[in-house]
């Protein structure tokens, strides 16, 4: 970019570069303004907020907002989200990679038709399933349980998981699989000793994308969790906001707590977001 800019002779190269960076920094600040507001609000006390509004530096930093929000219920929401995500993601990935393996390497005659059948799930609006799922979950006594919610998440996760894993398994050379087969390796062994270890990058990508999606899920949690102590974070936060609608400081702190794990994952595993999405489109 800087090269391209300096080639233009209207302004001296240096000045153009400076202008470019100033514009970029302004755009970045503009883009992050909502997040900055959130952080500033979480750090100040309610009185300060009421007088000076959201976008001003706190008079004094009030860390208690975080501990108070945590004790008011965020603690529960947080651990519920951890439990649901912690079970959903690994179980889902095992099921999805087995299915994807069968669709790519097992000379399966129905592979294309089964894959299309699975892809339908990517486009279904949640609303299309809610009423029958309510009846079903009711009959199975799974309403208002984290187990029930986790099972639903696993089911809804199948299409995207199979899509990503299939995209990866297609790049595993057939020769490797066939060689192992000729050496007398069973298909289960080929799957977990050869295909799955090769697929570690895809598995990590999927873990992250799926983990974030599960952490953020709202509508199923809203329909199928009824009691406050079982709520997951997104649902709990919205409820928190209607209950304590004027305590912006605590609410902002609560939102910030819910975002921190996502930010950490995002910072450390960024390239996997790109790899995972790439796998989904290939």
């Amino acid at each position: 970019m800087s090269q391209q800019i300096s080639r233009n002779a209207l302004l001296p190269g240096k000045a153009k570069v400076v202008i470019f960076y100033v514009a970029l920094i302004l755009a970045t600040l503009f883009w992050l303004a909502p997040v900055i507001t959130l952080i500033l609000t979480a750090l100040k006390d309610a009185g300060d907020f009421a007088v000076n509004g959201a976008f001003s530096f706190p008079k004094s930093i009030r860390w208690e907002n975080f501990s108070e929000a945590w004790e008011t219920g965020v603690k529960n929401y947080f651990w519920n989200s951890v439990i649901v995500t912690g079970f959903k993601v690994p179980i889902g990935i095992v099921l999805e990679s087995m299915a994807a393996f069968a669709l790519t390497h097992m000379h399966f005659r129905w592979a294309d038709r089964v894959f299309t059948y699975i892809l339908i799930g990517l486009i279904v609006p949640m609303q299309m399933t809610l009423v029958p799922l309510t009846l079903l979950m009711n009959a199975l006594n799974l309403i208002d349980t984290l187990t029930g919610l986790t099972i639903l998440y696993i089911g809804f996760g199948v299409p995207f998981g199979v899509l990503v894993m299939r995209g990866f398994f297609r790049t595993v050379p057939v020769a490797i699989i066939e060689a192992a087969r000729i050496d007398g390796c069973s298909w289960f062994k080929i799957f977990y000793r050869i295909a799955l270890p090769l697929a570690i990058p895809a598995v990590v990508s999927l873990c992250i994308l799926d983990g974030v999606a599960t952490w953020n899920e709202f509508i199923l949690a809203q329909i199928f969790l009824r009691s406050d102590e079982l709520r997951t974070l997104p649902l709990g936060l919205v409820q928190f906001s209607t209950q304590f609608s004027t305590q912006y400081d605590q609410l902002a702190a609560a939102v910030l707590i819910s975002v921190v794990p996502i930010v950490l994952v995002f910072l450390f595993f960024q390239r996997y977001f790109v790899a995972g999405m790439g796998g989904a489109v290939k």
Binding site: T37, A99, I123, P125, I219, Q222
Partner: protein, 309 residues
């Protein structure tokens, strides 16, 4: 390609050994079974059953349902004003989603595709809102739009635009648009990521050659970059449209369909009818309408995804 290679590398018996592999008659089904069973029970069966329920009048509790044929759809079309508001809002939302996040994403991708100090961190910054949940995005933007203390009105007042400030989310005539802007903030990341991946596949030499011929940047975009991004663009438009029709959480967090149902979408109105007013027949009928709308964009998308198998 791969199979040709195998044929030459491995002994002739290799392929036939796998082809005639007896264990492959049932084994693939065994590998697929756990996924297919849970997916069918949780996603497919409910879809079919919802379509069936849309033909009945039912409150969700009574032991008997009254078969009414397509009456629920008729009621929605002729007697349910909010259905039309929701449909119109979905259309507005869809148009905005097809224009805004896609073009902003493309612009950012082109800008940030070139290597310069800070290009990577800038990508992360612009992608960042996409990893937040829509409920959180909704909550954050609700503060931005707060009539007295929100950032937007504060900035407008400092700029001398005090007369134009308003309670953005309570004004029935405009409340939908602030929500769309918040949703756009969240939706830009995905198109940007997909376009960045698409740009990587365009060979540098093409641009170099065009530069030598004296093509301006805008010409290089129109004649080289954009045509080569056609496939990416199709995927981006399809995914954005499908996601736009799924919008729900952000409405719930920001306006809850109000004021006076003016920001209802089909997705939220389905929830209201089903779970607040116990109109299960009408609710499922809306779900079917929403799904049919999705199919318009989804069928070409699924065709594309399954094309080269």
């Amino acid at each position: 390609m791969a199979s040709e290679k195998t044929a030459t590398l491995a002994p002739r018996t290799a392929k036939s050994a796998i082809k005639s592999d007896d264990s492959l008659r049932f084994l693939p089904w065994l590998f697929l079974a756990p996924s297919l069973v849970i997916y069918t029970i949780v996603v497919v069966y409910p879809m079919v059953y919802s379509s069936y329920l849309s033909l009945f009048r039912w409150d969700g509790v009574a032991p008997t349902k009254a078969f009414v044929g397509l009456d629920n759809y008729g009621i929605l079309l002729t007697q349910n004003d909010v259905f039309w508001i929701a449909l119109r809002n979905n259309a507005i939302w869809l148009v905005a989603a097809l224009l805004l996040p896609t073009s902003i994403g493309l612009g950012l991708a082109i800008l940030l595709n070139s290597k310069f100090r800070g290009s990577h961190i800038s990508r992360s910054v612009f992608y960042f809102p996409s990893v937040l949940s829509l409920a959180v995005v909704g909550l954050i933007w609700t503060w931005i739009y707060h009539p007295d203390l929100g950032l937007l009105n504060q900035v407008m007042r400092t700029m001398g635009l005090g007369a134009l400030t308003r309670n953005w989310l309570s004004d029935p005539n405009i409340a939908l648009y602030p929500v769309i802007i918040a949703a756009t903030w969240n939706a830009v990341g995905l198109p940007m990521l997909l376009y960045l991946a698409g740009l990587q596949t365009i060979p540098e030499e093409l641009h170099e050659a065009a530069k030598v011929e004296g093509a301006l940047p805008i010409q290089r975009f129109v004649y080289i970059t954009f045509p080569l991004l056609k496939e990416t663009t199709l995927v981006v438009l399809a995914i954005t449209a499908i996601n736009a029709l799924k919008a729900y959480d952000i409405i719930y967090a920001m306006t809850n369909g109000g004021p006076a149902n003016r920001t209802q979408l089909l997705s939220t109105w389905m929830y209201f009818l089903t779970y607040n007013y116990n109109q299960v027949g009408l609710g499922t009928a809306i779900a079917v309408v929403l799904f049919s709308l999705t199919l318009i964009f989804a069928i070409p998308y699924i065709r594309f995804m399954t094309r080269k198998t």
